[in-house]
Symmetry: C2
Subunit: 253 residues, 2 copies
Amino acid sequence: MSGSLSVVGLGPGPAYWLTPEADAVLKGATDLVGYAPYVDRLPQRPGQARHASDNRVELDRAHAALDLAQAGRHVAVVSGGDPGVFAMAAAVFEAVEARPVHERDLPIQVVPGISAMLAAAARLGAPLGHDFCALSLSDNLKPWTAIERRLRAAADGDFVMAFYNPVSKARPDRLREALALLGTLKASDTVVAFARAIGRPTESLSVTTLAAAVDQPADMSTLVIVGSSETRIVARPAGTPWVLTPRSYRAGA
Amino acid sequence: MSGSLSVVGLGPGPAYWLTPEADAVLKGATDLVGYAPYVDRLPQRPGQARHASDNRVELDRAHAALDLAQAGRHVAVVSGGDPGVFAMAAAVFEAVEARPVHERDLPIQVVPGISAMLAAAARLGAPLGHDFCALSLSDNLKPWTAIERRLRAAADGDFVMAFYNPVSKARPDRLREALALLGTLKASDTVVAFARAIGRPTESLSVTTLAAAVDQPADMSTLVIVGSSETRIVARPAGTPWVLTPRSYRAGA
């Protein structure tokens, strides 16, 4: 009896961003494993078991999924966005690594998805049109000093930055601290965009400057993009302006 | 007569990675505009016009697409991967910016896709499991000094790096130069992965070290990932090992 494990990216939420590969794997799975809000997104299917768990137990969840697969089940571990970007793929391979090599011959696949930064960028125009970084501002698993070091490096390189996990209940001022640090390193009129709950009914966008962004609220569903020195706004006749990071780069050469 | 323009991400190639949104937009378009190899991927549909163009004419192509949309056509500008990541979205908004504001009320949308780095990461396991940068090594539109500056910054920040456009006919040694520079800044046993033509029949993966990577061939279809100090290999009983960048970060704190 040979089981399998798939780590599946659900994308930001709507069905129109779920790939056919992800859809097929979800339909064929005997067991769905994941953080409860992601499992709850999926339809109930006869004969399919659902194992919803709390946040911050990623490694336990990954081990439970591996155990199920090793017992012959076809397990889909579900993640929002892309499973490889601040999501379940890393936890699954940490769990794989903790097992002896001879137990690693289970079929494991990662099914990519539309990551939050790609969905946010799509709504904003082309903010990631040139070199960029993706950073998690969560200091659950890394020291804040490491985050500061990376913010400084990203500013030195004049990268566009996409921030995941910009705030949490435990650390509501994390984003404010990051933006304040960048305020000492980058021009105050640097373009900053907040993209909230993209693809969901409450979706919203706002575009502002680094100086003004410090006072802007954000939550766990917000993806924040900080522009490079070349990122600029393209006005529209109405509504939120487009954000453009052009393909060419002249600054800092 | 009201036209529209969609900038559509086709993903890395296979239909199983094309989102339902992209599929619907492609089916509803009156005109397909894009670099010939991307247009050639799509089925011929009765009544749908195809405008295939050469590489390196992105801005001309974007203007032509806007002209068609302004004449009332429903235009899909097609890009490989995600249109916002080193692809057509930036060129389209550069073209929008070049027009007066009152001409910008055309409905324009960007349809995200699976970018090459997400597909490559999925095949490799979880190489992007922590903070990372995406850089184009093409110096068509930016000076090589800017690329060097960003490589240094990315090394300073100990980011995982994903390289797009690692080589070209005009500059076959670009990747070698980038890796040689990183060799002076990072440990020689840093994990480096080459992911070629992911999703296509000729797909291949290789995992090596920074020291050995300098001599490894790459082409325009290769996505190169350079690990952080914490990126490591997880051996499998057979085949290419998994690559894991763990969720926690302890180095350099």
